[in-house]
Symmetry: D2
Subunit: 270 residues, 4 copies
């Protein structure tokens, strides 16, 4: 990597991003919820279920970046209002994606964490705007982005005045097609070694296969990740998008037990 | 490729994008100019030189998407005014990149063609906004994007009401590091076979090496491309960005002779 | 690229590989024939057809490296005898693949050129053995191999005493799945610039699609390639392997006219 | 994946490969040792050190597939004799690479496990020959190979009559250059789900960086791997190859404690 003078690389105590009662970067943070907000019932029921299973933060998309212009693009404002309702019901803070510079100010009124997605990782205008928001930013690594590019994108947010950035590895694009993407597990120790920011893993997008998510979540915890971000749907078969990678609440609950137990072990063994 | 119902795939006579006197999609269109607008002198002199060498359209960036937040980000409005000046001096239409949804309306007042760059190819908000603009759009393929994704992004612009889209292949990211990217020359016949839109090639970003640009420009013409887009700088050694891939006006002039001669031959041989 | 002291990079007049009456590296060399030798009738008829269309060398596999152990592995010695018969009928020299160090001596008695395939590019034992053979070697670039690795593999042959190496770019593996592989057209000027060896292109394996082969052959010629290598089958629908990328003799003949015309033009324009 | 009828995919109890007293596929198998056998002192001392730290099997290369023909190619027979000596001193079984079909019979007299390396994964002649050997085979995934290709290569060995195959993921080639390769951690649950063969991970080649090896070893264990394979050298600074990825005996010992503790925890939690 070229010698770069990024503030996120500088000597600094590890950043802990405080979101309500949740401290991302301290202990293990679990973010769960549906890919898209589809309805109040679907979202609130999922929120209640993941809360019961021990999730810390609710995820859910109101603006969906979709490959095709003719695919469902998300509920927009209506979706944000549903997420707010889910937060009121469960107390879980919410993370939701923002896809347009013009939306940052008003989406910030609903979201506890602004997500910038993989396809927008190098949307530098959006990064700058998120850097001016008063909410933490969860930045996903682009599926074709090097570690160096990823760090520079996080630096765009920091340089604009927002120190609360969470880095998320969600799989990179390779020649392998058996999995949706290839989880770059090495990114966990690399990012922890190079930066002072919290690092989480999204095994749902990385694999696109329900059966692989528990193993990779455990691997992420063992590698030292500060959290995981997982898609859960009350009825995956009817999910509007990414149904093949959504866990049922039962699958999520079972996985959570293993994940929390492993994390306690890792802390005690450290 | 999945069966997709995209209007750009439908039976249709080949789209010709009219930009002033230039008809992109008819004959061979050559777009040339500096990576960034750095100063009036640099831009106007380059414009005059590429015009003399036979270029049809002037390129130049006023908003530069840069890996690092601390790198030169472009001159913005000042840069657009310089481009306007260069157009007045040479009569060449100008293509320039737009990187923020909020900028589309006013950048459209300066640009003859709006460019959407590789890093923003899947910035769907920007694509929709460009679809509402009354200017043609030059869409660059993302460096990690499949042909199918590229077509869907072009369809975002068409679906929003703008039929004037030019597709540009500019190299994809692979394991090879000798060249900056890998020019996917197959994209030329593939895109011409699948769609009715004009297809151009950018050998400058594809290779990142001056010595390879003439050969790849000839290859593009032989493969059936509707045009090429090349970086030229009056003094590459002093260019603010991409200096290793900028041709001098002399190199560009020499290359143009070969390219035009080959194109005439290809037309006569067809 | 690291500073490497390879003899193929050294100052040297361009290597011309003489194979019977054919001089590879002087003019345009066209190699054509079936993927596999399936029968005497199929091979000899194809040989006669490609000879009539103007091919210089006959290709055909007697040992086939196949993904599955249960797929057709080639006719072996029987296949070599059929190739010999085809050479007697047409006068075309033959190039055929060798896949085992133990086979090099006796396959050399049949072949005019030994091919080392993409999957064996880094089979260093095989390279060394081919370096001791008294026949030219056509070395295909591995589908995941960098230019630097490719050059080092060619150097293995040279270092073992055989100066007659032909480099063949046949597509690299990328994330794109629309084409079978991605033809790295830049490899042509790069390899010509760096080495003194002849460089040819295999558009059949690079694309896996008949419709793209003529355009890419023209692109290769325009980029400066010394030859092309194309799969032709008298009845592609019944080919045992790679049927979707085999040209009929009619398609090959039509393409050859364009390719030869373009090459003459390129020579006259140089 | 295409419907393929491979015996390794069939209903079958999990294969346990017995190597002396070591049962690969039962418990956690740790393979450690130098990249290359350089001298008796270096090899025996490393063997003693890794044995003390709890390794089960000694690795060490006598035939080295090297990018350059001018690089150290291994000690050959002399290296095998040194490995034999190290086995006598420590009781550790040895795994060593074979690179030529002609060598399989006599290398089998020294090795307890034959390794087929990443560059030779699709050297089908070598796979067939190893299938006839009476020693287990450790097959490394090619750096550009899909899971499907990897399985088919393992099937070549099984189809030739040798049921004792150990699958090893060692990193794939991607656009990321910060790490030497990208460890495809998903391969662990995928291969365990699809096949009945033991699956191990090589974090040394996957990362090329000492600092990342412990985290990835833990991740592999958490993901369910049957073992790890790690490079250890008594004096990494003087290693002839891969010095930047070799652990010192001290680093290896520290890592082993964590790895074994985690594995016991995973077994108790299952």
């Amino acid at each position: 990597m070229k010698q770069i003078e990024l503030s996120l690389l500088k000597e600094h105590e590890r950043t802990v991003v405080q979101v309500g009662n949740v401290a991302v970067g301290k202990g293990l943070c679990v973010i769960a919820g549906p890919c898209s907000v589809e309805s109040e019932k679907q979202t609130v029921e999922t929120a209640v279920a993941v809360k019961e299973a021990g999730a810390d933060i609710l995820r859910g998309g109101a603006f969906k970046p979709r490959t095709s212009p003719y695919a469902f693009q998300g509920l927009g404002l209506k979706g944000l209002k549903i997420l707010k309702k889910a937060r009121e019901e469960t107390g879980l803070p919410i993370v939701t994606e923002v896809v347009d510079t013009r939306d940052v100010p008003w989406v910030s009124e609903y979201a506890d964490i602004l997500q910038i997605g993989a396809r927008n990782m190098q949307n530098f205008s959006l990064l700058k705007e998120a850097g001016k928001a008063n909410k933490p930013v969860l930045l996903k690594r682009g599926m074709n982005s090097t570690i160096e590019e990823f760090l520079n994108c996080a630096e765009y947010v920091l340089a604009a005045g927002n120190p609360d950035v969470i880095l998320c590895e969600r799989g990179i694009r390779t020649f392998e097609t058996y999995t949706r993407n290839t989880l770059d597990i090495s990114a966990v120790p690399v990012l922890k070694e190079l930066t002072h920011l919290p690092v989480i893993i999204d095994p749902s997008h990385a694999t696109g296969r329900v059966s692989l998510i528990p193993s990779l979540s455990l691997a992420a915890v063992a590698a030292g990740a500060d959290g995981i971000m997982v898609e859960v749907h009350i009825n995956p078969a009817e999910a509007i998008c990414d149904k093949e990678q959504a866990l049922t609440p039962e699958q999520f609950t079972a996985m959570m037990n293993h994940v929390r137990t492993l994390h306690r072990f890792m802390e005690s063994a450290a």
